[in-house]
Amino acid sequence: MSLFKYSAPMNFYPLAGRLIPLFWIAALLLIAFGLYWGFFETPYVLSDQKQYYHILFVHVAASWMGMWLYGMMVFWGLVGLIFNTRLSFMMAKATAVTGALMQLIALVSGAVWGKVSWGTWWEWDPRLTLSLILMFLYIGYIALQSAIDDPRRADKASAVLALLGSAVLPVIYYSVNCPNPNECASLHQESSFKGVEFNILLAMLVTALGFWAYSFATILMRVRNIILEREINTQWVAQLSKN
């Protein structure tokens, strides 16, 4: 019964408390190193002499996290629906806001990237459109969460919504990338990492890891708040503030 001990909010609360500072240290170190490496160790002049590629570090990290956290949200929702464990629902609810914020950073930096490289603030390029749609899915999830008062129903309903969203997402991806099947040449965009110089790639990955640690830290903090809110009148919470 070693691991399942932590599926009870009462045990998970102190565990999360201990983990949070570790994730914060990891996040600060990784992001600092990633950005330092990105700004100082990468070649000063790139082939097309554009200095704005530094935006990529934040943009790639944030959009990865935006997508990854949506996946986590769906996962925790699914686990909650199957095992009916309250904690997994709490994790799903905690992930939503951080995921939405990460997606917001990805969207804004994507728009700025569009401005510097294509000249317009918004370009209906499939990737930008998809991250806009993912943002709508986040907003829909959070709207449903806050519209339902009873926590049990809110958790389950939003878990179903997240599942529905993730089921339709591939179809949306296909329809955005290939709106006109007649002349839809290549659906698979070549991954934009092929020609990237090693140092930039390293900086990008390290920054992304830093964003991942940051997301975990904030999600754990929010989960602790949710646990306190929902278990406010239990015995162990009352003891909590004694020490």
Partner: protein
């Protein structure tokens, strides 16, 4: 690479540093508001405990 060159970022300074600033603001504001929420919850718990004590003493 002098400081001014670094800040200018080849003419794209506003964009690059704008994004960095936005990310920084979000990634500082979110934990702070969470910390605040945490403190408020703890106070609420303390108040609940006090109310219960008073209830039992009478």
């Amino acid at each position: 690479m002098s400081i001014s060159e670094f800040l200018a970022m080849g003419g794209y300074g506003y964009y690059v540093w704008g994004i960095m600033l936005l990310a920084l603001v979000i990634m500082v504001f979110e934990p702070m508001s969470l910390k605040q929420q945490h403190q408020r919850l703890l106070q609420r718990i303390k108040r609940n405990n006090r109310l219960q004590q008073k209830g039992r003493k009478r």
